[in-house]
């Protein structure tokens, strides 16, 4: 993920570059974002934050995070999505699901085919809430006082103009110019 911050002075640019990096890392978006560009004009209190989305991770299937550990038992190999897995199993199989231990889940199934079918079920698709997570990350980056927001639509990227004042047309033009240069790979 490439981050570029301009317009805010040497210290502020460096500070916000670090803030962008840590916030998008903490929200788990680092691998989903190609580049981030931020323009700060604190004198007019105008901030433009543009995020170019890169590839989205593949959906996580039951087989990606568990292995079959005996008759009707699956063993968890990656705990990250276990709450989602358990919710899905309880919804679909109800009383037939029993969590034997932290990493062992028993699901009473009728046949081995049904077990293989289960292993191909999708537990979590990162595409589902990608926009929400990106917007949450952008909200954390943008200064809190800049509550007047305007989004500039563009395929494959999210751009927000934020200010405490009404958004001016010239700022919208500026945001569009940033977007086009980002897509040409200049920004």
């Amino acid at each position: 993920m490439e981050v570029k911050v301009e317009g805010g002075g040497e210290f502020s640019n460096a500070g916000y570059k670090k803030i962008c990096q840590t916030i998008f890392r903490d929200t788990g978006l680092q691998s989903n974002i190609d580049s981030v560009y931020m323009y700060c004009n604190a004198a007019e209190h105008m901030f433009i934050l543009s995020v170019k989305i890169s590839r989205v991770s593949n959906p996580v299937k039951v087989g990606d995070m568990t292995v079959i550990g005996g008759a009707d038992v699956i063993k968890v190999t990656n705990e990250t999505y276990v709450p989602r897995l358990l919710t899905m199993l309880w919804d679909d199989y109800g009383d037939r699901v029993e969590q034997l231990s932290r990493l062992e889940i028993k699901v009473k199934l009728d046949s081995i085919e049904e077990m293989h079918k289960l292993m191909n079920r999708i537990v979590y698709d990162p595409r589902e809430d990608l926009n929400i997570r990106i917007l949450d990350g952008m909200d954390r980056v943008l200064p809190e006082g800049a509550r007047v927001r305007y989004s500039v639509p563009f395929k494959g990227s999210v751009t927000i103009i934020a200010s405490e004042n009404p958004i001016k047309d010239e700022w919208k033009e500026k945001a569009k110019a940033i977007l086009s240069s980002m897509n040409k790979g200049e920004a």
């Binding site: 210290f11 840590t22 604190a42 200064p143 006082g145 004042n165």
Partner: protein, 297 residues
């Protein structure tokens, strides 16, 4: 003038140290014994420092000066949202506590932004109940310059903390801007030390002013009397907070009269202090100067 220091060491002759502090006219402010480890905040007459140091050498512990001890500091941030808390707000507060201060943290109701940033009269009154304030204003020079105007009317010493290293506004300490990670590296600790030093200097000036026109009684002595009359409940910490020219006292409902009638020398507490309910917590006890009350002993 009292000097406040922190002792850390073992239990060996720990009681002898405590007795010595009391014998030379000092006070035990805080004491903690954790199995074989001990920690003691003590205040004693500044001229007795050599006696205390000799005893500490004998006991085999360490002694450290607490430059901000005896002061209640308010850390003020534009809001309590995720943009300002927990870093750097809590990092600054923790560092000041390690230097002996009692800290409170406050998020302004409408402190965010540049043009729209405000401070209410009530918030100002709460800040002025403390000995000093630290304002944490973020990364942008223009915003810090604008927000600095909010602090100008404050009647207590204050420090403004911000990102850009050099801004030409009074009481400014730079290099601590908006952070999303804990300040734990060496250079970051040095920056926190600059904040503590600037605050220490501001408080020292206030202490000198108080020395020139001394108080009717030391807040430390009043705390001692208070703790005898209204002992803190088991497990309760900081029921009485010492300030430079007074105390913040948290009393049970119904105990207000007892508080007013506590005897300090040959006077009642209400005769030598202004006692009023705090806008924030407990009661504020502001001690009059000796010039106003005359001698109380």
């Amino acid at each position: 003038m009292y000097k406040i220091m922190m002792f850390t060491g073992g239990v060996y002759k720990f009681n002898e140290l405590k007795e010595l502090v009391v014998d030379i006219g000092g006070f035990i402010l805080q004491e903690m014994v954790m199995q074989t480890e001990t920690m003691l905040h003590m205040a004693f007459p500044a001229e007795e420092e050599r006696t205390i140091r000799a005893k500490v050498k004998d006991v085999g512990g360490k002694i450290k000066e607490l430059p901000l001890a005896g002061a209640e500091i308010m850390i003020v941030v534009p809001s309590l949202g995720k943009h300002h808390a927990v870093d750097p707000m809590c990092d600054i507060a923790e560092f000041l506590r390690r230097n002996g201060a009692i800290t409170n943290m406050m998020g302004l109701a409408r402190g965010v932004g540049k043009r729209i940033a405000q401070i209410t009269t009530e918030e100002k009154a709460i800040i002025e109940e403390c000995d000093a304030a630290v304002f944490v204003f973020g990364d942008f020079k223009e915003c810090i310059e604008e927000k600095a105007k909010l602090c100008e009317s404050l009647e207590v010493p204050y420090i403004i903390v911000g990102g850009p290293p050099d801004i030409d506004i009074p009481h400014y300490v730079g290099s601590i801007g908006r952070r999303t990670e804990r300040l734990r590296r060496k250079y970051e600790i040095d920056e926190l030390q600059k904040v503590a030093d600037a605050l220490g200097a501001a408080l020292e000036e206030r202490r000198r002013e108080i020395d020139e026109d001394p108080l009717a009684s030391s807040p430390l002595f009043i705390k001692e009397m208070l703790d005898q009359e209204l002992p803190p409940k088991a497990g309760e910490e900081f029921s009485t907070i010492i300030q430079l020219n007074g105390l913040r006292v948290k009393v049970e409902p119904g105990d207000e009269e007892k508080l007013k009638n506590i005897e300090i020398g040959n006077r009642k507490l209400s005769e030598i202090c202004d006692i009023k309910e705090s806008a924030y917590d407990g009661y504020m006890v502001r001690i009059h100067t000796e010039a106003v009350t005359g001698s109380v002993y």
